[in-house]
């Protein structure tokens, strides 16, 4: 029996394995040599083998390689953190070595000035807009670089930019007096997200309730794959559809003036959010133990009462997670935002005004920006904020919600 066992291994292992196998044999396991020769001693050697785990190089290597590859996902997350943040660093710290020649010409005072500005940002910020808004209106593109560097000596635009500039209400990165107010972009994204979730959440949650509680099997077999197919629609296709068809349709319907606006963008984004909200909600609903429903029905509740007052409340953490993930999806959605929202950074409460989303700003402006300058760093800062935000949403959805759901059902299942 032991002989066949060895034979088996040799047959099944390919040549490289065999090499490694015999190699390890000789080097590490002298006892095994005896085994192969002394066929009479079957009983005792068998015991030895079963008690001691053989060392095999191929096994060892396979396990180590597979384990290290598995760490890749963690490594990627960490690398994303490092490299997206690395490019935003120039905003917060002066990088003297990265400055271009123009700035290096007039070093001494500049450094002094910048330090002054860093210490006293708000003061310079108050003065700045009026002073430069009127004087530096029509410089050619080539002169701009020189101009900004001149300005930076007094206004502190070089390398670092002040916090109050970032918190401003204007996003005008390409001008003689660049303003990097992130607030309108943030509010724009928020507006889009609210509109999208207001559409997506009720549709997706009710549809999930339908498939998990009411739908006959054959209908479920149609609805679930269809929603998977919707998830597979490229966002550029949804964006194109919104841009060409939905925008005109809604304009005719509501009669507003700007064709591309937050409403169109939000509705288009809800198409991207529906599949994820649906899937996670559906999972949570099917995880609710049947005993809950049976108890409710036995007490005389009707089917809809059971679904709405027993199943849905029991799955609340899951539904909450679904909405969070949907928000994350909409928040980071780029192509639809680029194509269907109009991309004008207007701050207003009107859903029919154009908006400019954070993600769309990166997508639209990164291609035209000079590597390493302030605008570039600010775009990376937006990226870091987006990444942090979605990361936090994921953490909340993961630990808080999942933990709660598991705890809630533990009693029922056992």
């Amino acid at each position: 029996m032991e002989e066949t066992e060895n034979q088996n291994i040799k047959d099944s292992a390919n040549s490289t394995d065999n090499e490694y196998g015999t190699h390890s044999f000789k080097d590490f396991q002298f006892k095994n040599d005896d085994e192969e020769i002394d066929e009479n001693n079957k009983g005792t050697t068998f015991d030895l083998i079963s008690l001691k785990k053989k060392f095999r190089l191929s096994e060892f290597l396979a396990e180590k390689i597979i384990t290290s590859v598995a760490f890749l996902s963690i490594a990627i997350i960490i690398l994303i953190f490092i490299f997206v943040f690395r490019e935003t660093m120039p905003i917060f710290f002066n990088k003297a070595d990265k400055k271009s020649n123009v700035e290096n010409v007039n070093k001494p005072e500049e450094i002094k000035q910048e330090r002054y500005v860093l210490e006293d940002t708000e003061k310079s910020e108050e003065v700045k807009p009026e002073r430069y808004g009127e004087t530096t209106d029509n410089y050619s593109f080539l002169e701009k670089g020189r101009e900004t560097s001149l300005k930076s000596e007094t206004a502190g635009h070089e390398g670092t930019i002040s916090i109050s500039n970032l918190l401003g209400m204007e996003w005008q990165p390409v001008s003689n007096n660049p303003r990097y107010g992130l607030l309108p972009l943030f509010l724009g994204t928020l507006k889009l997200t609210i509109i999208a979730i207001l559409f997506a959440a009720p549709i997706a949650i009710l549809a999930a309730l339908f498939t998990s509680s009411f739908a006959p099997n054959w209908l479920r077999e149609i609805i679930k794959p269809s929603i998977e197919l919707l998830a597979g629609f490229p966002s550029v296709v949804i964006g194109f559809f919104a841009l060409m068809v939905m925008a005109s349709f809604f304009q005719d319907l509501f009669g507003y003036s700007t064709r591309l606006n937050a409403f169109v963008g939000g509705v288009a984004m809800s198409l991207a959010a529906i599949p994820i909200i649906y899937t996670v909600t559906e999972d949570a609903l099917t995880a609710v133990p049947n005993t809950y429903k049976e108890a409710s029905l036995a007490l005389g509740a009707s089917r809809w009462q059971t679904a709405f007052f027993v199943t849905l409340p029991a799955a609340t953490p899951g539904v909450f997670a679904a909405i969070l993930l949907g928000i994350g999806r909409v928040f980071g959605e780029t192509m639809i935002a680029l194509m269907a929202t109009g991309n004008a950074a207007i701050v207003s409460a009107n859903p029919f005004d154009s908006v400019r989303a954070l993600s769309a700003t990166i997508g639209a402006e990164m291609a035209e920006v000079v590597f390493g300058d302030t605008h570039y760093s600010v775009l990376f800062l937006i990226g870091s904020l987006l990444f942090l935000f979605t990361f936090l949403l994921n953490i909340i959805a993961e630990f808080y919600v999942r933990g709660k759901l598991v705890k809630r059902f533990q009693g029922a299942e056992s």
Binding site: I66, I203, F210, G332
Partner: protein, 299 residues
């Protein structure tokens, strides 16, 4: 009693209507795009280059670039994704902290917005690795430190990695534990069992994962916006350091940035139709394969 039943039916129909509305939306999108694009769709459209400032001609370079991107991406993403899935299901103790962290990382990775991958590709692949290669191998000459198809594909492979991991792991779990135990009982080692029993048993799952990844990679634009996609190229990419055209990027540029949007409208619809048909059929295939795997595991 009748009133009660009426309310019950009404509420159930409302939820059913919501589910139905999703299907209707999908159908509307597809029908509108098919109607808009079908007249322009010819064999020539697929095999010729854009002409006269994109107002005439076909989309062959964009199609070619997309296929190339997807192939390089799969070469990078599928092996790594499969190995991670094997680790998670075969080696890792599901309750260990490491396995939990990896799972969390995979889920996080699938939730990271696509545009962030684009930024990462720019910061890491192009400006760190690419520029580093240029400095050390080409003495500062610009070759790898700029957007190209290799960096775009690798960026895309990061995005599709979780897709592969999730579907391969699901498939591996459907390989019955008895088969593994039988193999181990016959004296095969763990790695031999994985190679000869687990992987062959989950080949369909690996294929499903690849198909899903390909469909995702063909449709996403945000990661390649500034890592390699080009608006128009006179030549097809011949080396890994070339830029490339891409179907989705083509649609985006034509519909938002081109000077004569109306004139190119049929081309836009036709291109969108091609992209939609491509991703739709791939997804359909993946869904069918997956339902086959699930049915097998039920038996």
């Amino acid at each position: 009693m009748d009133k009660r039943k009426l309310i019950d039916t009404t509420v159930i129909s409302i939820t059913g209507l919501m589910a139905l509305s999703i299907i209707v939306i999908i159908l509307i999108i597809m029908i509108v795009i098919i109607i808009g694009g079908k007249n322009y769709l010819t064999w020539e459209f697929l095999t010729s280059s854009p002409q006269e400032g994109m107002t005439k001609g076909g989309i062959f370079p964009a199609l070619y670039g997309t296929v190339l991107l997807v192939i390089i991406m799969s070469i990078a993403a599928v092996p790594f994704g499969t190995i991670t899935a094997i680790y998670l299901s075969e080696y890792a103790n599901p309750k260990s902290r490491i396995a939990k962290t990896i799972r969390f990382a995979v889920r996080t990775l699938s939730g990271v917005p696509a545009i962030i991958f684009g930024l990462f590709g720019l910061g890491f692949f192009i400006k760190f690795i690419g520029a580093g290669l240029d400095n050390s191998l080409y003495s500062g000459e610009l070759k790898w430190g700029q957007p190209n198809i290799l960096w775009a594909s690798l960026t895309m492979s990061l995005l599709t990695l979780p897709v592969v991991i999730v579907s391969v792991e699901e498939a591996i779990r459907t390989v019955p534990i008895d088969m593994r135990e039988a193999s181990l009982a016959l004296g095969a080692t763990k790695w031999q069992t994985i190679r000869k029993v687990v992987i062959p048993g989950s080949l369909t799952g690996i294929m499903t994962g690849t198909i899903l990844a390909v469909s995702r990679g063909a449709g996403e634009i945000a990661p390649i916006l500034f890592t390699g996609a080009a608006y128009y190229l006179a030549h097809l990419p011949t080396s890994l350091s070339d830029q490339f055209m891409n179907l989705g990027y083509h649609i985006y540029i034509m519909s938002t940035q081109s000077a004569n949007v109306d004139e190119t409208l049929p081309i836009q619809f036709a291109t969108t139709l091609i992209l939609l048909v491509l991703t739709f059929s791939l997804n359909l295939l993946a869904i069918l394969l997956r339902s086959r795997i699930r049915n097998k595991s039920v038996k």
